[in-house]
Structure formats: C-alpha cells, structure tokens
Symmetry: C2
Subunit: 345 residues, 2 copies
C-alpha cells in the first residue's frame, strides 16, 4: 500500500509542500519557476505520487463527484442515460456516484442524504415521483439538483425530459400517413405523467386529422405485457369492426398485442398494424420487428450532465429545463413484410 504524500514529493524535490502543490496544479503552474516545476514533477513521477482527492476535496469544498439516483437499475432505458452522463463527465475530471431509489420515497430521502453527506457537487435524479418532492426540496438546499426523464410540475427544479406528447403525435402521424383511419390506443396507467402525455398527444393529433381515437380502458400497472394482450383482445372481440392500427404505450404492451393477434388468427401488420414506444432493445428482434418511438436516452443523459455542470460552476443560476424530441423508428409492424424499413442504428 503506497503512502506517498505531497510532503514526500516536496522533500524529494527539496521544496516546501506548498510549492509542490502549486507546481503540480496545472492552473497554478505559472506561480512557480519552470525548472522547479520540472523538479517536482520528476519527484512525483519517481515516487509514484497519487494525489489524494479526499484531502483536496476537504480543503477546496469540491469533490468533483456527481451523484446519480435512478429509480430502477434494471430498466433498460436507464443504461444509455447513465452512459450519456458518464460520457459528459469524462474528461472533466468528474465521476459519478450511483444509487437506486427503487421508486420508494423513503429510500429516496436516505439516498439523497447520503449523497449530500458525501458532498457531491450536484445530483441528477432520474425517475422522480411526486412523493419524492419533499426529499428533493430538502436536498436542494444543500446541493444543486437536476431531474432527468421525469419532472415535477411546478417544482421549479430544472429537468431534462423527453417530449412524450410529441412522441404520441409522431405515432399518430405515422399511422395516418400509412392510410389508417380506424385507430386505437392501448393506454398505460394514467397516473404516470409520461403515459398521460403520449395519450394526449396521440389523441389530439388524430383529432387534427379528423380521426376519432378508439379508446379502451386504461392498462393496469403490471404485468404490462399481459395488459397489452388483454386490451388488444378486448378490441378484437368487441362489437363492430376492429381497428386497423393500434398505438401501444410501450413495447412490451405491443408484444402483448402481437400475442393477442396471433391467438385470434389475425396477422400483423396485415390485419392490424402495431406501433410501440421506447425502442427497447428487443423491438428490433420481435416478429414482426416493431415500429416504435425511440427516446433520446443518451442525449438526455448528456444534457442533464451538462446542466449539472453549469449549476456547479454557477450555483446562483436557475438552470434550464429542456425537453428532447423522440424519433420514430419504422420497422415491419407497420410497414408490411416487403417494404424495407429504414434502419435507424
């Protein structure tokens, strides 16, 4: 275990520790004569000196560490967000402390306290819920906070989100452009804002095309795949002509819809076109491959990190909120078998 401290380096270079500190700091290098800097650098190299970020953090009041709180590490959508954050931090000398809140306000509180105690320079919270607002407000007095993915309306906390209303509109436009007129949506639970928004965007866009939206009851929380199957089945068995296209509020519901169609002997997209949401990795591998709306996870992470860095540099700044546009990824489930989908990879 090495225990080389700044003092050791200074001794070897024959200077005072304070001089060594300045010589090793790129910003302060000019305060020391060039040959002294060289001598100190050499000594540091020879001893294998490794600065102590803890001690430095104590003195400077800055840890160059950023906290990330995610609701669920298992959610595949989180990986690109975290990656986007990491990537933006890279090269700025920052690292990320990561913690999981598991959609539990108590845990959220504990986790935020823990991060505050570690004096992180800022915190990015993905997937905040309404119940988390108290904890977030408290933490905000100690450390700058940026929300990602979900936001808290009226909280004034800067948030980087994706635009789900626009995502709903994209889905609507896509189906209309492909000639569909009898269109339904398989809704996710309404108490989650992102589902509500994509439902609203979809419906209002269809209205602008003078097309009514066929609504079924809203899906329960889980298992979400079963809900997709159940709702699709209701559409197929209720009176009147079934829709020619459905918008499933996420990819798993879409897969459930596939299963319902298959079990009733209907084909997709031949009888009913299906469009999903999220562009889960599996979407490219279902049968048929699933047209879906891709959310800009990586960019979202980058923007959140960028906002956090700005808040660190100027804590007075209010911080800007931002909503990133999703992208439609056309695949076979709405295009038919022989049309070539445009790959978006």
């Amino acid at each position: 275990m090495s225990k080389v401290t700044l003092k050791d380096v200074a001794a070897r270079a024959g200077v005072h520790p304070s001089t060594a500190s300045r010589a090793l700091d790129p910003d302060k290098g000019s305060l020391v004569r060039v040959d002294t800097v060289e001598r100190v650098r050499a000594a540091a190299r020879e001893l294998g000196y490794q600065g102590d970020a803890i001690a430095s953090g104590l003195r400077r009041g800055r840890t160059n560490t950023l906290g990330i709180v995610v609701a669920d590490l298992g959610n595949p959508f989180i990986a690109p967000v975290v990656r986007g954050i990491e990537n933006h931090l890279e090269g700025r000398g920052l690292m990320a402390l990561i913690a999981e809140s598991r959609d539990d306000p108590d845990r959220m509180l504990r986790v935020l306290n823990n991060l505050a105690a570690r004096r992180v320079d800022a915190v990015i919270v993905t997937g905040a819920r309404n119940g988390d607002e108290r904890a977030l407000r408290r933490a905000q007095r100690q450390v700058p906070i940026v929300l990602a993915v979900r936001y808290l309306p009226g909280s004034g906390i800067p948030a980087i989100t994706h635009d789900d209303e626009r995502g709903g509109r994209l889905a609507a436009d896509h189906l209309v452009e492909h000639g569909h007129r009898r269109i339904a949506q398989l809704r996710g639970p309404h108490d989650i804002s992102s589902f509500r928004e994509r439902a609203d965007g979809f419906r209002t866009r269809l209205q602008e095309h003078d097309i009514p939206t066929i609504e079924v009851e809203e899906g329960a929380r889980r298992p979400i795949l079963e809900e997709g199957r159940r709702l699709m089945d209701m559409l197929l068995t209720q009176q009147g002509e079934p829709p020619s296209a459905v918008f499933a509020h996420n990819d798993l519901m879409a897969v459930g819809a596939f299963e319902a169609l298959a079990s009733r002997g209907r084909s997709c997209p031949g009888d009913v076109a299906v469009i999903g949401y999220n562009d889960t990795p599996m979407a490219a591998f279902t049968h048929p491959s699933l047209t879906t709306v891709r959310l800009p996870g990586y960019e979202l992470g980058r923007m959140a990190a960028d906002t956090a860095v700005m808040l660190i540099e100027d804590r007075e700044q209010p911080g800007t909120s931002l909503s990133l546009p999703p992208v439609l990824v056309p695949r076979h489930s709405t295009l038919g078998w022989h049309a070539a989908p445009t790959p978006q990879e």
Copy 2:
C-alpha cells in the same frame, strides 16, 4: 446551503466537538453518558446537522465507497450485476462509484488511477481483459480489487465469475438430449476467457457423447450480430451436410444465425436448432423464442460485493474466487413450435 459542522452541534449541546463526535458515533456511544448523548443528538437534529463524509474519510482512511468498473454500460448483462452489488452495499453504509472502461486498457488505467485517488475502499472490475493486467496489478498495490464476470488466469486476483465451461456443457447436453448428432458452435473471440471456456465445455461434453464438434473460424469482436450471421452462413454453404443444431456463443450471434437461416430459406428449429447464451432480455421475444443459457448476474454482483467487503475488513486476506452455475432456459428455438417451453421467469 447549510454549513452546520460538528463544532456547531457541540456548541449548542455545550460539549466539546470530540465528545459530540463520540456521541454521534453508534460504535462509541457507550463512551459518553446517556444524557449527554441525548443532548448532542437533539442539538444535531435541531440544527439539521449532516456529517461530512469527506472529512471523516480523510481522518479514518476509509471512504465507505466502492468503485465499480464496467466494460460497457450498454451491455444488458451488466445491469443485474451492478444491481446485485448496490443491493449488497445498501445497509452497510457503502456507495458505489461507477466508471466505464470501454474495453480500452488505457482508459482502464486512467479509471483505476482515478478511483485510487478518490481512496475508494475496494474496486470491483467487471469485464477485465488480458491487456488490463498491468493496470490491475498496479492498482492492486493501492486498493483491494475483485474481478467479476471475467477473470485473469494466473493473476491471483480474486474473481467471481460464472462457470462458462459448465454453461457450454449444459448447452451440449440439451442438444444431445434432443437427438442432435451433427452439431456446430459459433465461437466468440478466443482472447476472452469466457468465450474460450464455453467453447471448451461444449466440445469436451460432446466428446464424452462421442460426437465431434463442427468448428468454424472464430468470430471477430464486432459487430457480433453480423459475425453470427456470417459464421452461420459459412456452415450452410460449405461442403457436406449442414449441422442440425448450433450453439451460438451469445444471444446476438444466435439472432444473426436466425437471419442467415431465413435468408437461405432454412427454418429454425425445423432445419437447424439454435441455442444462445446469456439470456438477454430479447431472447424471449425473438422468432422463434431463443433457448439460451442464463447467467446469474444478480447473484454474481452480490458475491463480488461480499468478497470486496471482506477484503476491506481484512486486507491481508487473500480473497476467495468463486464460480457460479448458469441455468439452461429452454424455449422454442430448440424445442419446436408446439412443444411448450418451461418458463423460467
């Protein structure tokens, strides 16, 4: 921004900071009279005192922070591992600093230095490569290291892995049990130990059944899906009868194999059965759904964290290596369309 320090708490409680420190430390609580402890606790609560983990870390030489280095945050297999680690850390007062090496030895070196500078108590490295050995050895002199997922043979660094040889044998047994005799494997790059082992396990198990393994050249690093397609295509077009079953070294290669089969007008599992590896989330949703070998990611993370914690508590200890058994998940790609696969969810 609060700046309540231990001194403030002590002043309010009318005691010396050192007493306050002891009163607030559960391990030292007995060194202080009960009513004093109460008074200090009350003062801390009223002031909203939040200990400074940085200062504490400096003095104690322990940061209660663990570093995680992952090769690729986008790899879906990583999420459960990280989650398992997090979960084990939870309640022990530890948190995880996470960083990405991106399979680049230079980055690995930088990242490890960075973690060492932050004085993390231990580091878990998932997905180490041979080229990383130098960096790991150097880092090991500063901080205990535990490998996860991949290990470095002969390095003596404790490693928690899954038993890929056994995984290969599982795959072989499964295919043989289903009557296959002409069997090939689509190999991943051989310089990664886990690919090598699953290849060996598979081959030796087939040998024990007196069945030769049809080998094709080894796959390149990426894009791995294309490699699966390319190798499967080679098998289909080379002289002689093609195999009736193939073992793809991961699920993406298996999907590539699906594509090669489809483009040559062969069916799966009718003409060729395919078995994958990893049980990627998509495996349940491919067409046909993919029989595969599931790796115990979550448990692996927990065990790695456990080992790391033991090393922290006793740095002299060598640290135990461990290999966790994978599980075969039968689905349609080897069972045929009408047999009901046993769900493993």
